[in-house]
């Protein structure tokens, strides 16, 4: 039974040896440790992959022992994940198909260990892609007047399908507190700029206007402040004076696909932790 444990707690001496000792005593073999100390905040972070010879019923036992023997005294916030369970990912899209195609073809190739119960959109444009890949497609239009009702329908779907996290694959609507509160640090957005430069609408136009020589894309967890959530992954590509805004958009599409898919993979593999509006990305 492969397990992944994520921990954060106030930094102090002895945590690593306590945790590794615990795993060893319980019959686990540690496959990989990665840890980090945020010295300014005085916080310790750790991710452990271990292999237990135990069967699944014993997991509850293990969790209780971890809580009692370790977590309480170190004031740990922690979670334990079994390697055998695939998270359920909902895809939100609008009209652009490039990130959607990219994620679905990776899913199809076995590159993403998730279930994708549905694709949701405020438009019907991409229903044909959902059909190509045989995934349910929900068209929930959003207008000023129907925003509240639309969010209720979204929440109902997310609940019905037991969704674990949401990927905004170029979903062109602002996600409100209502949804965010149900999925804290579980909504991944792709923004088509090198944040914090060019937050908000039309970043390629703003980048063109400024005459930058490099454009970027940023994947981040969605928080209430627009385009200001914890950054998971960024990448860039060079541009020149000879590129038009249309060229920026075309070059940017490749960035968006790569950066979003990397962030999704990190999330699926539970390699991200959020603290102080930043991410720790485990190796």
């Amino acid at each position: 039974m492969k397990t992944t444990i994520l921990i954060n707690c106030p930094d102090q001496s002895g945590i690593i040896s306590s945790v590794t000792g615990f795993i060893h005593r319980k019959g686990g073999n540690i496959i990989y440790i990665d840890q980090h100390v945020d010295k300014e905040a005085g916080v310790f972070f750790m991710r452990l992959e271990s292999d237990f010879e135990k069967n699944i019923p014993a997991v509850q036992n293990l969790k209780q022992q971890f809580q009692e023997e370790l977590a309480q005294s170190y004031q740990m916030k922690w979670s334990l994940h079994l390697g055998s369970t695939k998270p359920k990912m909902a895809l939100f899209v609008s009209k652009y198909n490039h990130c959607l195609y990219d994620l679905l073809s990776r899913f199809n190739s076995g590159e993403l260990e998730v279930d994708i119960p549905f694709i949701l959109s405020n438009h019907s444009d991409l229903e044909y892609v959902a059909k190509q890949f045989d995934i349910p497609y929900y068209h929930i239009p959003v207008t000023k007047d129907t925003k509240v009702e639309a969010e209720n329908r979204q929440l109902a779907l997310l609940k019905e399908y037991n969704i674990d996290f949401i990927v905004l694959a170029r979903y062109m609507q602002i996600i409100t507190k209502k949804i965010i509160d149900h999925f804290p640090n579980k909504i991944i957005n792709i923004h088509h700029s090198f944040l914090p430069a060019f937050a908000g609408a039309k970043p390629y136009h703003a980048a063109f206007e400024r005459g930058v020589k490099i454009i970027g894309a940023t994947s981040h967890y969605v928080t209430e402040e627009l385009d200001a959530g914890p950054i998971i992954e960024q990448d860039v590509t060079t541009v020149t004076h000879a590129h038009s805004i249309k060229d920026f958009i075309t070059k940017g599409r490749d960035l968006e696909k790569i950066v979003l898919s990397r962030a999704v993979k990190l999330h699926i593999r539970r390699k991200t932790m959020v603290y102080n509006n930043k991410t720790v990305i485990f190796s």
Copy 2:
């Protein structure tokens, strides 16, 4: 006689054939053309390298003919540069030595075709580097009270040495209109962020605070608005949660050196033109 001609003018049909025809008629062989049309602004840009068999006295003739036969009717802004003249570059520094060492060792290796008549600083810290490379070093302290006087001394030096352009190799003082007006698009600064993100003071600290995954450096011509001039060159490097601010600074130093030296080379080779607060960078 190798010459470089830089042109910009309102875009219209026939410019390229007119200019290339002119060069041909005057006995020049065109070695390289690069051109660009800014379609939104309707402006045409061109850079031509040509080889003339003429001797230097004939250059004045050529310039006059170019003005009369071509430039007037096309409303060209243009300049003609002889390959044989080395521009004179002044280096302004404060306390950091990395960009200074980098530029001087490139100069020493013959990589930069310039003269460096002097190094100027508001501190005496880097005088030892100037001595290592046997270049005059002027220490002109700058305080609130002495700013005006210091600028007068700077201008006097720039004039005395016939300086063509200034490189701010991490010079930690704001350049005012007084100096800029004498060197429009001729003062190159290196800013230690991926502009327009993190303009102003302490960009590495701001980048660390925001939790970015990539840091950058930007070289630009200095204008009155701080860190908002035309961008010449940018580059980036990846960082992670594990990097401290000190690590950002160390990694950034390598970026600053590379980005500044590339901008300086482009300027020396007359491969930059400025329009609408943007640069055209010729290949």
Copy 3:
């Protein structure tokens, strides 16, 4: 009528002004010139985009005049392409779907200005992708014994559909002289290494074995010598000791997609010329 002219000829003085003068006399407006001189070989290369106000019947005239007035005296090899004609691209695949999905989703988004008359494979595995995108799929198995017959069937299809160029989107069969002779510099392959390192089979395994810190992908025109044709495009990504061969393969897939699609776009836009087993890539 937008036209693209590609030229190469022995280098000499006056070519640029002759060609631009010709275009101008024939009523064309030059939109973009890019040229290159291979000084060692003494060869001149040029690509011109022009806009003519003429109608299509006049093209034959223009071609004849170009040949008589210019091409003969300069010994030019040249071609003229009308912007209105889309090239026909055949896709050859085997079992991997990532490059196929990537190209088809770009095609679907209007990013590739081609027709794709068919997909051909030596296996039936990817027929479902062809169906998703509603493109004919020909399954032509290849064994030692049937290689000759298979090539005849391939050639018949290529002829029947008037194919202009072939893209090997991870087609795992060697292309022989028989096919190459019909498509010189018109077959684009993606090799999953940074050529010339790791030519031949299993490059990711070889890269892993050598302990490299960077892996690459290379797109090139197919010539008789395996993996030794003119390189169109290359890109790389970093790897570490912690990556397994499987990780190399997964990371490499993203490279292969990007590098192949860039090469295909360059070819479609007629931005490539081949000389001395190298490419000139126009901007």
Copy 4:
């Protein structure tokens, strides 16, 4: 007392908890762990940074206990390094000054925690640089006839100054077994290509000839087989058909500097381990 422990041993369950438990029992606080398992070879690697409140005399004790309590049973190869000791680095150069200037200016800025007792060269060309930085310079010419004698003089100097490791900063002589045997995995070379492509002499010329679109540099430990030692660091930069061999060389110089300095820093911080002609690079 800050210490770094490097370990490799046959992989088995329980190593991490044993080692972390040992450190904890001896009063050490683990600051950072990084580990790696080469699954094919079945070998475990670990690097531990710890903080001990002990004074230096106790280190011998600690080493003995580590050997007896842990290393023997796990068949570990291991080393323990005190943070307070700076390694001694010898610089070997020939005629190119760029890597030398780069390393010395980093050294001057406090970026490299080493001592540099001397610079050695087979030419006298760079003596002026050594003088600029006030470091002893030994000129030991090497010819076919004097090779053996020259090596003896080199070995004598390396011994006299208690040199820990050697950096070949573009030293254009082959290092023979005689020297290598005294400095196994302790001689760092910079090769100006993306190895294994273009090993041997004139790699930029070979890269130009092949028409590659990317050039690289590789830093590796020197072994008896030329340019085939364990790779520490690689990086690349793009080139085009428009770049001459001279451009390759100029662009490559920046790569060489960056790649060599990164490798030197990794070595100084004891972040490298060699196994099966590959490196493990700790984070």
